[in-house]
Amino acid sequence: MTEKLAILWPEIFLFIATCLVMITGQWPSRAIRAFTPWICAVALFAAFGAAMSSPGSGSAHGGMFPEIVPYAKMLIAAVGMLILLLLSGTVDRELEAEVDAGKPFSSIRSNRGEFYAFFMFSLTGLMLTASADDLIWLFLALELTSLPTYIMVAISTERKKSLEAAVKYFFLGALGAAIFLYGFALIYGATGSTNLSEIATVFATQTANGGISSLGMIGLLIAIIGIAFKIAAVPMHFYTPDVYQGAASPVAAMLAFVPKTAGFLALMFILGTVGWNDGTAGGGHLPVAIEATLWIMAALTMTVGNILALLQTSVKRILAYSSIAHSGYMLVGLIAGPGIIGGPFYQNGLAAVLFYLLTYGIMTVGVFAVLASLEHRNGDEADDMDDIRGLCKSHPVLGWTLVICTLSMLGFPPLLGFLGKVGLFTSGIAAGQYALIVILGINSAIAACYYLRLVAAAYIDDKGKVSSPVYASPFATRKIAGVVSAFFVLFLLVFAQPMINGAYNASKYVPAVAGEVEHNDHTDRHTQSSPAKADEDVALTHKALID
């Protein structure tokens, strides 16, 4: 119990900040309103510190991924800070301008409090996903991550299209949630437990006795397809371009990172219950049905994302499709699995995924920061390819940020994205997924076409006659977010070792051992009261409180 509390401090800091900003964001005093983002920043720093000194989840986590918590939460807090820089000035621009002009402040029209509170809620949910050890917890954490983002999309601009995007996102999100919830229900039915490590034990026992029960297998597949919504993988990817285009750029950057991270963490935990060991000694494979599903999903996600990205003229839609493609790349790491226990980084697919989430978060914030820093005279955001033409000349800092981050997304050798991608490649090869690696290679080549189009537009093309030119938006912090991201992308490669070590430690996976579940419901409930069960119930109550 105390162990569980010990790993929850980052969430507690974020939650306290959420409660505060919800109220300060709509305070009549202007100074207090302006202070709201700072509260978020302080909380994120505190959460980062708490995550750094946090113990690995250890036994509180049920032992499947004993070291994941500190790395995942530091990653979330760090990218969260970048996104926070980017979010400034997204809401309430007109309202604040009116207040400056002397009109009275109206709290019902203000969205600032909700906006930051929902941002913090979403990050809290993301961190809770990282510490999840139970299906109920996982479900609640995933919902806490995604529910606030629907509203954030809706209020991110004053324009109708953001509302339309929010509705699409919400309806498909609810559908995805219902699907993985049904999967969770079947998993519970097949194993009789909601605790992930107990589920893993039951599955290991079933594997040893001839195979996972069909009910459990169906449940896992349904859960995977439902979670595919969160990572925008192929059967559930339709919403992505519309939502990214409809939402304001800062919120789109958040959507590219937050649900994806939640989805991949959840997938790791769900796949961890069956393990990457196909019952055969030393085999590094998921059970056949799951591997086939993920394989098809990965191949289709990469290909669909990259090919459709070629056809777009809107930069945000290109980035949306590239985000779909990146999910496909990361699925390769999930299929590869942790490799041999204690094997090196380059054979460990989970470490590659965890590291790639970090690199992807930084790169994508960089690119969206450039878009968010440009606007038309009428307040419309920069979105079209024409808007970024000749950016290296007209706005050199933004232009070069765009070039660097885009090249990194492409996986250009000296940049951060390259290092992330190499991990995925080598782990895939180590796991023997040669066909998938070939598809990954071909897709990287296709992706080069549209990424280079972006680079060429910014670097080579001259700004000819443009009907509505773009200007730098008045929010300096967005530019700072872009520059910081570009700086990381350029120079983090030099200092990448600690991060790689972090990702490698975090990916430590302890497969379940076949055997009786110790505190199983129907074996010992009748005969003796079970103190371990008591702890579990206490934990559930605690969860309710946090949420």
Binding site: I136, E164, T194, H522, A534, L540
Partner: protein, 120 residues
Amino acid sequence: MMHAFETLQLAQLAFPAEMNNSVLAPYLFVSAAMFCIGLIGFMTRKNMIIMFLCTELMFQAAGLSLIAFGRHHLGSDGQTFVIFVLTVAAAEAAMALALVVLLFRHRESLSASAWKELNG
């Protein structure tokens, strides 16, 4: 602490037998049918409210399975899960209400095909 779990046991002693598969199956069938009706309804209907009701139907289908499985395994996990599912469903309902009202003000229509600004 012990008292609580003795009470819990007592509650279970009231129905100590495991539910066998022939009793479980109808629950699962109804739940699967609800889920499929919801899924098919979501894909074929155009009205936003109906689409939302369909997702709710799918949530409740999962809830029904959870309760049936909880009884089958004689554990309280399933019921606990359902309480949280209900909460999330309520949160989503509030959100859907807000979004649909906002949209209706903009378009005076609740048909999904009325919103086509974002396409490409």
